[in-house]
């Protein structure tokens, strides 16, 4: 029988090397675990410095404005470009509109010479009025004398009532209303008590009809069930036509009375 102590001594000498990284891992764990347990309190001055530094960092963080996101910058730039483009467009269109009005006025200041329409210039006594005006439609224009034939329609070329454009009848606003060419005019006038009728003549002039006058026009455009004007409408129309005849007799037949003169106009209207 073999000596049992030989077996044990052979086993004693037997050794198996560990895995390659076992040693490193063990070493690290042992070191870190020892380090973890080890702590050294900082000196008091250092502690105060660190606290101050942290406080300052926090303050600076709060005062630094946040960075505006890129998308917002893009949006602001786009809005700025759109506004600038709109301003340029508005400026150009304003100048174009002004030029259009001016050129329309210029074109229409050229008289439209049509068939002769008698122009009465002398007064009822047959005396020639002051100045060089001519009553004959056949005379050609001499110096200071011009006969205007027909209607050139300026500056009344593009009137509008409450925004609705009108083509004048006989180049006359009152005749346009009394001609009934635009039956819808009565609808432009609101209910009684709400009259605020405006007639756009040109860029310098918007005539505001008085409530009384707007009421006359409203009366003139009242119809019966059969579509014919009411008796009141006919009477109002006749009244307006009488007024116009009286006005023409006062200021057109005689050159002695000037409707622009406040005395002449007041005396005629208030007599």
């Amino acid at each position: 029988m073999a000596n049992p102590s030989d077996k044990w001594s052979r086993l004693q000498d037997h050794e198996t090397p560990p895995p390659g990284d076992a040693y490193e891992r063990l070493r690290g764990q042992l070191f870190l675990s020892r380090l973890q347990q080890h702590s050294v309190p900082p000196p008091s001055s250092v502690s105060a410095l660190v606290k101050n530094a942290v406080r300052q960092t926090n303050t600076r963080k709060n005062s630094i404005p946040r960075r505006i996101p890129l998308l917002r910058w893009l949006a602001a730039a786009c809005i700025g470009l759109i506004l600038a483009g709109g301003a340029i467009y508005w400026a150009i269109s304003n100048r174009s509109a002004h030029s259009a009005i001016v050129s329309a006025g210029r074109q229409q200041t050229q008289p439209a010479v049509r068939a002769a329409v008698p122009v009465t210039a002398s007064d009822s006594a047959g005396h020639s009025p002051i100045g060089h005006s001519d009553s004959s439609s056949e005379k050609t224009a001499a110096s200071g004398t011009t006969i205007l034939h027909g209607a050139a329609g300026i500056p009344l070329a593009h009137p509008a009532i409450e925004g609705h454009p009108l083509a004048l009848v006989d180049n006359d606003l009152l005749v346009t209303f009394t001609s009934f060419r635009y039956p819808e005019i009565g609808e432009y006038i609101g209910q009684e008590g709400e009259y605020d009728l405006r007639i756009h003549v040109d860029q310098y002039t918007n005539i505001a009809l008085s409530p009384t006058m707007a009421g006359f026009i409203k009366e003139m455009y009242s119809y019966r069930k059969n579509g014919k004007p009411t008796r009141k409408a006919r009477k109002t129309k006749e009244r307006l036509e009488r007024w116009q005849a009286a006005d023409q007799k006062q200021f057109d037949s005689s050159a002695r009375s000037n409707p622009i003169d406040p005395f002449d106009l007041g005396d005629f209207l208030f007599r």
Binding site: W73, L81, T109, P118, L148, V201, I207, A246, F251
Partner: protein, 213 residues
Amino acid sequence: MVTRIINPIFLLAGVVGFLAFRRAAPPQSPDDLTVSYTLTLSSKRGNTGIGETYNGGIETLFAAGAHARLRLASLMRVQSVFIVMDGALVKRVTLLKESGNDRKRTTMTAGEWKEYNKKYAGSTLQITRDTATILRYLCKKVVIALKDGRQLSAWYTPDIQSPAFAALEPAFAGIPGLVLQYEYVYRKKTLRYRATAISHKPIDPAVFTPPGN
């Protein structure tokens, strides 16, 4: 890097927008004058009859250099007086009815215009202590009295001078300023012209050209 591109775009947009608006603002010309007056007729009865066809009308004064025009626009008629000045003197006057088919045009010399307005010969001006503020201008009241007793009250501002208006409206000859309101009272009815707008925008020369010239 993107913000370096966007910032100049934004700045450029702002500059362009500013220049466009500045350009769009109409230029002003101190010599050109446009004044709009609204006509108002009033009476105790409320209804002034035929006067309602002139009520709400607009009288516009255009003055630029040696040219001036006074235009009355109302439902009843549109009428203008054109005047050409030679310094302070009237050179030529044209009366023109612009509405209707039978438009009439009359041209007068300075002498004929003076004869046409002979009712103002011998009229007197009396400046009173009354004042009124019209379109932010402090105006003084003046009473114009004709020889036949008729009177016209006017409020004028000395801050604006317009010799052309005095030539167009002989009633205002001798008033040291621009009249912004005037009224005539007859048989307890009042005809009032009140300025509602004043402008110094350049006036198109075509405004001073009577049709047919």
